[in-house]
Symmetry: C2
Subunit: 426 residues, 2 copies
């Protein structure tokens, strides 16, 4: 006898949650497609060398890696970006560049299981590969905006930064070798606060430099425009500032300034971002964390020795959206109306034209799969959440509101259909 | 430098094919849901003992099995039925029985790669668990019928049999110990022919018994009804025959006789079917093989020592549908209309209200992500298959039919939208 259990760190999804997720995925896929992004699919297994490249490190400890029956060293993907790079390297000619893709699928990481974190989870990525223009950054930012709107999430701020701003500044003051360390440390400001970050930076940089840096990034005195303040330091020809200004000008002209904000605290800890980076916060719930993040990365295909190709992408935090009560309310996913049909032994045949007529107008219709006692059928109908039921009586039908416990008798098929249509579908 | 390649036996899916597949999956999910089936999800990894149970054998050789970082013996699922059994054993109280579920997801088998067969493929299952009534068999058969209809596949025959008929017959003639062997052998009739199967059977059974069996299953002289012919042998109280008669009576009353047929040659090779079995063939293309198969299985949860629970299910051959030219034509998946917008450096901002207006009516709108030369933009638009383009000229718009190479100038935004709406959306 075997004990039925789920592998540690994994989980089942019950019908209601799976319905929700599938509806959200369907809406997002529709939004991406409408913005010109195309769906792709890749195998869940890749050669380990494809996934790890030269990096290894933390990732190596987390991946599910094994030898297949042919002794091939393979592993389950831990994200959708590395497989995309491999995919583009192989199919570049057929796809053509620039190429816009989306991919909503599971990935696996052997992280220490903790509350709300699982070893199997969804990623929901959209990327524009093969262009480094500000317009392509804007394409990603607007797609982030549009896809959240499509889900019914309308109140949020997309906070944008450009990692080049810090790099240019550090070049100017001769501290460029600390760029990665500083980016990673600043990334923690929201969690631990400006003071703690300051003292952490002071372990590597002189107090003077830290103070200068803070004055550059987070000026003490109120400034009208942070970008202008930074321009006064980096000069009018700073490429990163010009890039940001183009984006924020466009956002302003599009009347979307309420949804976008320049924020130098957003740095994204990951090493591979090289330009614009962004995170998205639900209005009034910053604690939830970012619900859509991304940025620009260069040298996507460098692992394969191909020419340098730049890309920019975003990722929607699907699991985060689906576990936040506030988000779930906003998502407002409704299930189709449903009706239960009571039947006796002949039920199936007699009920069929009724079932067809109702399904045709989008109503879910179910019968109990045995012609059992009325009580059994009622128990099933209540458990499945039906609030309307139909009894077949001779050639007529009785429509019963199971919540109000009221019945209307002697209806024709047409009357049943039109009553339900009116009630449910306006 | 790493060579970008796909693991042996696996494959990438290009955008057009992935779009097709996602549309078919969405339609099938919608059809299943409308018939009262609910979506579930399970992890792709299971404990190996969950997947293999006591069986092992052929399956064991084919699964992707390994030890995770915690030394757990785990494996990638090779079908969706075993995980469903584990799922129901664990969540039976929350789900309640009978329970109708669908699950459309990938499974993995390390089979020898051959043309058109891959180690990663989709299964598309619907099951009704916890009832053994003929009505639940009928529910599965009608759901098979409805879901194919939903896809636009209207001309097919669902061929139905009951494995109990053969078992009852063999009990009667005292050869019941050969049931499994005979079922498996008869399963090959379509491939190798009646004569070869006859000689294979004769290696185990006497010629007399083989002849009797053939006279029972495939009577030489024309019979009006095969079920009546079998009744004359097994008697009026044969449970399997009565079960079949109930189903075919219902089918007849539902006016669906054209789509269903009793066929004793359908036995399904797999051991675990115990009652009704079926396969579905596209009219005029039996060579394609069955596009939807299934049957009744008992003791779904026997592995977990729980009470005996019977189920019935079907599975749509998604990969088969998507690789058959004939099926693809029938599926008739259309992509939304799409329009390309030429732009200069200011393009994004200026084009945005146009983009919004067109997306709102379901038209895919794209721009080249750089304000590059017209030629680059045209090359991109042609490669992406756009046949309509819009040029922004001052406050007006020029609409260009890229196939006919005809332009209409000086249009307002409203005129562009209404022209495209008329052209594409009637």
């Amino acid at each position: 006898m075997i004990d039925p259990r789920v592998v540690k760190g994994f989980r089942d999804t019950l019908p209601h949650d799976e319905y929700l997720r599938s509806q959200v995925i369907q809406k997002l896929a529709g939004a991406f497609y409408l913005q010109g992004y195309q769906p792709i699919d890749t195998p869940i297994l890749e050669y380990t060398e494809t996934l790890l490249g030269k990096s290894g490190g933390e990732t190596e400890k987390q991946i599910f890696r094994f030898r297949d029956a042919g002794e091939r060293d393979v592993a389950m993907r831990f994200d959708l970006t590395v497989p995309m790079a491999r995919y583009i390297a192989m199919h570049k000619e057929e796809l053509g560049l620039p190429f816009k893709r989306y991919h909503i699928a599971k990935v696996w990481r052997g992280e220490k299981p903790q509350r709300g974190r699982f070893r199997e989870f969804y990623q929901c990525d959209f990327d524009l590969v093969g262009s480094s223009s500000p317009a392509s950054d804007l394409d990603i930012l607007l797609t982030a905006y549009e896809s959240l709107q499509t889900l019914g999430i309308t109140e949020f701020t997309i906070e944008v930064n450009h990692r080049g701003i810090l790099r240019e500044y550090l070049e100017k003051i001769g501290a460029v070798e600390h760029t990665v360390f500083i980016l990673r440390t600043i990334d923690k400001i929201d969690k631990v606060g400006q003071e703690l970050v300051k003292s952490e930076l002071a372990q590597v940089l002189s107090d003077g430099i830290v103070n200068q840096l803070y004055e550059f990034l987070f000026p003490e005195k109120e400034v009208e425009s942070l970008l202008e303040h930074m321009t006064s330091v980096l000069g009018l020809d700073s490429p990163s500032i010009l890039h940001m200004k183009l984006i924020f000008n466009a956002v302003k002209n599009l009347d979307l300034s309420h949804a976008f904000q320049f924020n130098p605290k957003i740095t994204r800890g990951l090493d591979y971002y090289t330009g614009m980076v962004f995170e998205t916060f639900l209005s009034g719930d910053r604690m939830l964390g970012s619900i859509c993040s991304g940025g620009r990365y260069d040298n996507l295909l460098s692992l394969y020795g191909k020419e340098s190709i730049s890309g920019v992408g975003g990722s929607i935090g699907l699991d985060r959206l689906l576990t936040s009560e506030k988000c779930l309310q906003l998502l407002n996913i409704t299930t189709p109306p449903k009706v239960f049909i009571y039947h006796n032994t002949d039920g199936y045949t007699q009920a069929y034209s009724l079932i067809k007529a109702l399904q045709r107008i989008g109503i879910v219709v179910e019968m109990y799969p045995d012609a059992k006692k009325i009580d059994n059928q009622t128990k099933y109908a209540i458990r499945r959440g039906f609030s309307q039921a139909i009894f077949i009586e001779g050639n007529g039908y009785t429509l019963r509101d199971m919540t109000k416990k009221e019945s209307v008798k002697d209806l024709s098929l047409e009357m049943v259909v039109s009553r339900l249509q009116e009630q449910y579908l306006g």
